[in-house]
Symmetry: C2
């Protein structure tokens, strides 16, 4: 494997196929890298008590968020987050050309009821916990291509709603194996735009330079309490493809960040990539590992859910990029494509991972 010597700031545009925006087998290099002009994160009490607690825009102590059931609570969470990101950007709902959103609930009801009052044309998307990657990918494409000037990409998840839907009612008090993850109660949103806010301020702007979109990968895992193992092969395939499509090495990025592989999936991913001579261990991070304190919060393998990568990205990763701690990251939300029905019918848990290349760029 060739060493990426000297200046590793390759011109990814050169890798695009002539006449097309796409690069290699399954990537896109954006011609006019869209800006992330605002980001917002709202989380629940437990997430607020975790290591990233001080970074979130808002922590809501009431798990019902003032509503009558878990589903409406999650809708409210998404609504508040959408309002927050609009406020932070100084925009109104009518300034947004499209909203791209999704969640884990059947028929995306957290999204439908959460955003109905915004009256923005909407594309509902589903990629399980990789949904933020899909929403940001499509948002960046719409903006880069001139189909939109501003897109709002948003996802959410809620611990109690997810447990009720995928596992057991909370009242049942089931024991959780150590391979299980804890669904994050949280919603994260970004506004992707064709113009940056800080043209002359000297602040770092955040841009999306490219994407590698995932295939569904099924290694035959059947344990819904071990989703890290189910998703790691999908993350592996997408990250490897990103390296190949752009002819880069792991050191092209300051951080390579998966969504919610947790402690189990982390080790599998690192091993799978090592077998292909890619060592990401010195720059690897997982949102599910970052968001909770393993020792004090009893969250076992880590956090998960559509909200996990979304709030970690918007609260922590964007901040690190803005402050110059990192220049360039590969953000890879990961999803386990199961339902309670497919699980009960004895089906496998296929995985998917969507990679988004994010950079800090001087304003």
């Amino acid at each position: 494997m060739a060493e990426n010597t000297g200046n590793n700031r390759i011109n990814i545009k050169d890798k695009a196929v002539k006449g097309y925006m796409f690069a290699g087998k399954q990537s896109i290099a954006f011609k006019n890298p869209p800006y992330i002009i605002a980001e917002a994160s709202i989380v629940g009490k437990k997430e607020g008590e975790g290591p990233l607690g001080t970074l979130f825009d808002q922590i809501i102590e009431d798990p019902m968020i003032g509503k009558d059931n878990w589903e409406e609570a999650e809708s409210e969470l998404m609504k508040l987050t959408a309002q927050k990101v609009l406020m932070k950007a100084g925009l109104k709902n009518t300034d947004i050309r499209y909203l791209i959103g999704g969640d884990l609930l059947g028929q995306l009801i957290a999204t439908s009821f959460g955003i109905v009052e915004l009256h923005i044309p909407v594309f509902g998307v589903y990629g399980a916990c990789s949904t933020m990657g899909e929403a940001m990918t499509l948002g960046a494409i719409l903006v880069d291509g001139g189909y939109a000037d501003k897109v709002l990409s948003i996802t959410s998840s809620h611990f109690a709603g997810a447990e009720k839907q995928f596992r057991f009612p909370l009242d049942y008090g089931n024991q959780r194996p150590y391979s299980a993850t804890w669904t994050v109660t949280g919603s994260g949103a970004v506004i992707i735009a064709d113009q940056c806010n800080n043209k002359n301020s000297g602040e770092q702007n955040i841009v999306i330079t490219g994407v590698t979109s995932g295939k569904i990968v099924d290694y035959g895992i059947k344990d819904s309490m071990n989703m890290g193992a189910a998703m790691a092969p999908a993350a592996f395939e997408t990250i490897k493809q990103n390296f190949e499509d752009f002819n880069i090495q792991p050191n092209y990025y300051d951080k390579i960040i998966t969504g919610d592989l947790g402690y189990v999936g982390k080790n599998i991913l690192i091993e799978l990539l090592k077998e292909k001579d890619y060592d990401i261990s010195d720059r690897y991070m997982d949102c599910g590992i970052e968001i909770f304190d393993k020792d004090t919060q009893d969250t076992h393998a880590g956090g998960s859910g559509c909200g996990c990568s979304a709030v970690t990205f918007t609260a922590y990763i964007v901040k690190q990029l803005k402050e110059g701690a990192w220049k360039r990251v590969l953000f890879v939300p990961t999803g386990a494509l199961l339902s309670q029905v497919s699980f009960n019918e004895g089906n496998t848990v296929p995985g998917i991972a969507h990679a988004v290349m994010v950079e800090a760029k001087k304003g």
Copy 2:
């Protein structure tokens, strides 16, 4: 309201905002209108016995499609349809840059398990029964913008899986009110491409010239057995916006075709548009009304489901365009954004509708 006199073939590109591909409030006029180079439809026995029976590519008599449960049956249906459309286009799975797919089942399991073997990068989408509109919209954007040369857009639904999920188990034998629709067992797929197949043949090529993407519209309907009424306001808003964004009258189209409003929703839509001085009654069609014979098939208000508009489009509408019976249609799949959970919790049934402008163009 100004009469659209003389040549009603307006140049929709003129309506686009300078520097952007978008037109008016929520539409896009494509610069390089993508081609639909192949289409396929596979349906169940009942759909095969309906008025469009002879037009489908395949009719599968076994409702289990050789599988052990309804969900796997629907996955198999989608897989067979994806294979069929690839075969009809003379393409392999590796020729397809992206697959955009969705279905009605929680967490889109019909799609995930149906397409896993194709190994194509995938965007899962959900817009209830409007999903084919969303999948074709995003497919056309990806191709028009040069992000893909070929995209496969696909949706499916299955009567028994939908009844089990949204209403009652079939064995319960519940009575269906006359406002209820019958979920279509079927899957429809198109391949959207930047190059047409029939450059010199003189045959009609089918192109997507523009789209108007829907907002979520909630008029407060709470009856999941009357989805036509729930979706009609969303269809109304999207169709009206299409007319306004392109400054056209209904006679711009030979047909204006909704997805599955059925007999109840049809009348509401026509009335709502009449109140705004748009009379579509002489060129209006609904896929849900076309697909079953009301008098002999006992399907009450008509067909519905992600598969309803998808198979009617691929089997019937494309054929009419190819044969020159129609030159230009507005295809408006309609969706009711409910889940069994939101319904049981007493929530409303919001609607959404995504309009796709489709034209026949001499090769």
